[in-house]
Amino acid sequence: MSLSISHLVVLVPLLPLLGAIATVLLGRRLGPRAHLPALAGIGAAAAVAALVLLGTAADVRGGHGEPSRPVEVITTLWNWATVADAGVADTASGTPLGGAATATAPFSIPVSLRVDPLTATLLVIITGVGLLVAIYSIGYMHGDPGYPRFFALVAMFVFSMSMLVAASNFLLVYVFWEAVGACSYLLIGFWYSKPQAARAAKKAFLVNRVGDFGLAIATFLLWMTYGTLDFHDTYTADGTIVPGILGQTRLSDAAGYVGGAVGTAICLLMLLAACGKSAQVPLHVWLPDAMEGPTPASALIHAATMVTAGVYLVTRSAPLFIGCPGALTVVSIVGATTALVAALIATVQNDLKRVLAYSTISQLGYMFAALGTGTMLGFTAAIFHLVTHAFFKALLFLGAGSVMHAMGGVIDMRRFGGLRQLMPVTALTFVIGAAALAGVVPFAGFFSKDEILAALHSKAHPAAHASDHAEVRVAGGALPDAAAGPFRAASYRSDAAPRGAAGDAVGLDALDRPATFQWLYWMSLFTAGLTAFYTFRAVFMTFTGPLRVPEEAGHHAHESPREMTGPLMVLAVLSAGAGLVLFVTDALGRFLAATPSLSAPAIVATAVPHAFHLDLAIQGTLAAAIGIAVAAIGHYGRRSDSATTARWLGPLGPILANTFYFDALYRVAIVKPLEALALVAALVDRYVVDAAVDAIGRVPGTWGAVARRLQSGLLQRYALAGVVGVLAIVLALAWQLRP
């Protein structure tokens, strides 16, 4: 099976790439059928990705019967470049700082693809949602002058994103991290003649640069520290193993990972990168503006897939983070803070897409909060939420797009209402998506959010959980082997002795305490209530009450075509059922546990039996119910009364309306000073540098005029010049031989 997987995984990125190339080459000729190459490429990739997932699942299940044994398949396509003897050496000891790599290891960049449970899961999500969005776009983008360009970009994005999650090398991850950023930039600015769109694209790009800077520095540090950038173990020509950063050798080595200041720096820089790409505070400001792009692009890139790249990066690098509890806790703090801040802002937005954008930021915050627990439950819960979120948020965005399509481009919720009469399918699917987002039993979001809350709760109250699970263990007796040792529900680094090569703890590690996570738990629970509120506020404002249609809609005001409603229905089914199925069977959790990155002993030790936490579920459901109830009181069947809302919010109102003054702060503190600097630089450039360069630039031209004069075209002069030149050389050389 693994042989075929190693071949198939190459096809997953390759097919959309071919689709993109074909669209570029044939797009103009195909006209209204320009979607065909991209659709075929993404569709075939989705089918292949499904096969890869099935094959990996068989690998995880079959053969060894140990659920926690990691599974990975590496396909090295070619070696892009090799620099011999580039190994960094610690000048004192002569060996690389933390690793076992030899000091003269070559710096090589193999183009390697990997398949493991994490990659396989994400590939299916990327290509699957990509396919649905592409189908939807046939209807949505119909008649747009940039029709072929859109599909080429979407296919290009699917290629880049699949490469990002399939790459087995930090440098390749960086390359495709940039590639998805470029696709995102191009799609946000898709209608580039609109000034807001061009501005939003620029903003997204620039804010992301901050994060990319973090990833670049993190990559440098990784190379300096570990002497390789590969995830997997590689073998040199003479048969010795070069342990990859996330390879089996290092994972099973207790001293494999560097902690302390260097490790924490790497982790925090990666977190910075993740904050940029996944729109976490304080780099979240680009995502709401990114809604200027076409709605299907928002659904695919800015909701379901690209923005989860940060979650993927942290999950993939889990063993690095485990060695740095301080950095890990910062991940949780950033996540929970983002979740709360974004949810608060979302409650006062009137633009339907912006509500969803802030909700995306908020839900991504949940994922980070779960990741920061550093437990097996936390990591799997984050990916579980990533999967369900991909379904229901894509559904909500596509639903919003359907509304926007029907309303003639108007997306301000105050200007329409009662649309369920006009667009029954959109309304029904949107409500399902909203219920999933709000965490209503038994829709998908309920289960994944419950797991995240459980992960936070287990860190906040380690003792309670330990006893809880101990009972379960006695009763059920079906524990994974890895957890069979002395049971620890959650481990705190500040309690335990430093592990392995971690060395000295950094001050940040003091954050890793139950009290921190108690705060984070309650923040997240409150956010859950807010989520339910703003989601259903949007539902009530859009779909209930008397029918209202803005005049821009014209004759468009009807249900969207089948290409658009079809994907909505598919996603609605997934949003409704996926959570329940995946939670009850725990298929995803057990599957993901076989990911090499999650098989580090420190993570495996935190694995707990799969359980339903009734107390947490009740708390979560209660929060959702309160949120929905408040939304119903305020908005069911009625227009929102802004005066009432303002009175109700009090001083919080202007803060929320101005999105916590993030943009204003950045404008004053960063943009304005930089603009002033840019102005000075421009003036210096024009009047000092350019003038000098122009002067220098005229020199070769002058010489050229002289040389041209010598180029007389007369044969005898040419021959004379040549012979004289040779004689001059001979004489000059002979001069050196003088005694």
């Binding site: 070619w78 070696n79 892009w80 470049a81 090799t82 620099v83 011999a84 003897d85 070559p106 630039g697 070769p700 031209g701 010489w703 050229g704 005029a705 040389a707 041209r708 010598l710 180029q711 075209g713 044969l715 002069r717 040419y718 021959a719 010049a721 040549g722 012979v723 004289v724 030149g725 040779v726 004689l727 001059a728 050389i729 001979v730 004489l731 050389l733 002979a734 050196q736 031989l737």
Partner: protein, 583 residues
């Protein structure tokens, strides 16, 4: 020299195959036309390429008769065959298409002999790299020159074409005469026509070569360099290039800017090997000291090469800046590229030169995986050849348009060519594939990463910087000279970018004044695409070429033992003595 025998002919199999194909083309001229001639030419090249490897194996040299075949010869041979295939396609122009799908209209002028002449040129060039003897070396060089005159004269019958071919002919004669003088002086030094024997004599540690013949060293080197400089189009023998390129067609310009340059570099590196003991060296390992004559020889070599490199690239580039005619511009740029190539030659000579009789401590090679001077030159030569064949292939493909010719009944107006920079305006709109390919080639020539031209320039600059790597850079030292040379190279690359980007900008950012019909023949377009594939593969997988150039450069620049093939036993692949490179 080992006696000539059957093994000599087997070793020269590919060259003989080319000659045989040439004979077929000549004889066939009585029976069929030019189009079929080019089919024969391509078949001959393919057959030569398929000839089984008779080489000595890695790091060794096989000598038989006047031949001395090592990794360097094999590298040049395959470069010649690849370039030959591309050039044959460009040369054949629309004739090849006509051979497949006959079309009405006047038969193209030209005869089948053209193709045969081209094949002889290739054979001569390949022989230059395989020559272990002055006579064969000169014969090979003339076998490059004489077919070139013929092709120049055959292709263009208008006044400018005739002027160009006549200019080339006379200046080439001057260069050949200089080269022959140089060879005579070299014979005077070495007392033999065998490169091996001359090299041994040079390095033999005797203070005075052949009694009082020391003065022959600068004479020999200067004259030989004059002959080589003409082929390279390097200062001071560069004047002909713009006139000749402009006067002849793109196919011949492609030929002139690649094959003679290969010949020049090959000869130059072989001459360096006389001092270093490269392939034909007899220095026992561990006995590194070489005689003062060889030291002087190498010192001359790096001094002259460094000076000419700096002057040549600067002259070429500043002249190119002011050109408006496309082929004149490319001629100037080819002069500049000769200068770049000489940087590597200078570095190769300096890296192996001995100073004051002391063995020179080589550069700290552990520093990077960079190539040495000779290898960098060969690598650059390959990238340059691929891009140049591509550019001229594209121009040939674009050529021959009939602006006013619309229907089949009207008399066909004379063909026109893309000749000025303005003709390229808006090409991206009318011929996107050609515009893209040309841009790739031009950017590679300009040295924009990650295209192979960048890796080539980087290797050249690195090889210059590695000279005396461990020494301190004090004024007047060799290290400072080579640092300056690397700086000049980089500055020149910046100047060159100006005119290359001007062409790219014309194609992409200006609107078309006149549509270009691209009727220059599908074969030229095919050559362009072939070059695009070559440039692309060098971009994405530069490693094989790096490795091959590195081996070839080591063969010509580093001393090692030779593994002769005994005269009477025909060499068999695998049975040839294989002597590994010294560690």
């Amino acid at each position: 020299m080992t006696p000539t025998s059957l093994s000599t002919f087997l070793l020269a199999g590919p060259e003989l195959t080319l000659v045989a194909a040439a004979l077929v083309a000549y004889l066939g001229g009585a029976f069929f036309g030019l189009r079929q001639g080019w089919v024969v030419a391509l078949a001959g090249i393919v057959a030569a390429a398929l000839w089984p490897e008779m080489g000595p194996g890695s790091g060794a040299v096989a000598t038989s008769g006047p031949l001395a075949i090592d990794d360097f010869s094999l590298f040049v041979r395959s470069l010649v065959l690849w370039a030959g295939a591309g050039l044959a396609l460009v040369q054949s122009g629309d004739q090849l298409r006509a051979a497949i799908t006959p079309r009405p209209g006047p038969r193209p002028t030209g005869t089948c002999e053209e193709a045969g002449t081209f094949l002889l040129l290739l054979a001569g060039l390949s022989l230059v790299a395989s020559a272990g003897d002055l006579v064969l070396l000169f014969a090979g060089l003339e076998l490059v020159s004489i077919p070139t005159y013929v092709l120049l004269a055959l292709k263009r019958t208008d006044a400018r074409g005739q002027e160009a071919s006549l200019k080339y002919f006379f200046l080439s004669l001057v260069a050949s005469a200089l080269f022959l003088y140089g060879l005579a002086a070299l014979y005077g030094i070495g007392g033999s026509t065998s490169l091996e024997a001359i090299g041994a004599r040079l390095r033999s540690g005797e203070g005075r070569v052949a009694g009082t013949a020391e003065i022959l060293l600068p004479v020999a080197f200067g004259m030989l360099l004059g002959g080589v400089a003409f082929r390279l189009a390097a200062v001071p023998m560069h004047f002909y290039a713009p006139d000749v390129y402009e006067g002849t067609g793109p196919a011949n310009a492609a030929l002139l800017s690649t094959l003679p340059k290969v010949a020049g570099i090959v000869v130059l590196l072989r001459l360096l090997a006389l001092g270093t003991g490269g392939t034909t060296g007899l220095i026992a390992l561990g006995q590194g000291a070489v005689g003062p004559a060889a030291a002087a020889w190498l010192t001359f070599a790096w001094q002259v090469a460094a000076l000419l490199a700096a002057v040549t690239m600067t002259v070429g580039n500043v002249m190119a800046l002011v050109q408006t005619n496309l082929r004149r511009l490319l001629a100037c740029s080819s002069i500049a590229h000769a200068g770049y190539l000489l940087v590597g030659v200078a570095a190769a000579a300096a890296a192996d030169a001995t100073v004051g009789g002391r063995p020179f401590a080589g550069p700290d090679t552990a520093w990077t995986g960079a190539l040495g001077g000779a290898s960098a030159t060969l690598f650059y030569l390959a990238t340059y050849t691929a891009a140049t064949v591509g550019v001229f292939g594209g121009l040939a493909y674009l050529g021959h348009r009939w602006p006013e010719w619309t229907s089949g009944s009207a008399p066909r107006p004379p063909r026109e060519e893309v000749s000025t920079v303005d003709d390229l305006d808006g090409l991206s709109g009318t011929n996107p594939v050609v515009a893209f390919s040309l841009s790739v080639f031009l950017l590679s020539l300009a040295g924009i990463p990650p295209l192979p031209g960048f890796w080539g320039k980087l290797s050249l600059a690195m090889s210059a910087l590695e000279v005396d790597w461990t020494a301190r850079a004090v004024p007047g030292s060799r290290r400072i000279v080579f640092i300056a040379l690397a700086v000049v190279l980089v500055l020149n690359a910046a100047i060159a970018a100006a005119y290359y980007l001007r062409l790219v900008a014309a194609m992409y950012f200006r609107s078309a004044k006149r549509g270009v019909q691209a009727d220059g023949g599908i074969a030229a377009g095919l050559a362009m695409l072939l070059a695009l594939v070559a440039v692309g593969s060098m971009t994405f997988r530069p490693k094989p070429l790096f490795a091959a150039a590195s081996r070839a450069g080591a063969a010509v620049a580093a001393p090692h033992e030779r593994g002769p093939i005994t005269a009477d036993a025909p060499p068999q692949p695998g049975t040839a003595p294989r002597v590994p490179l010294a560690p």
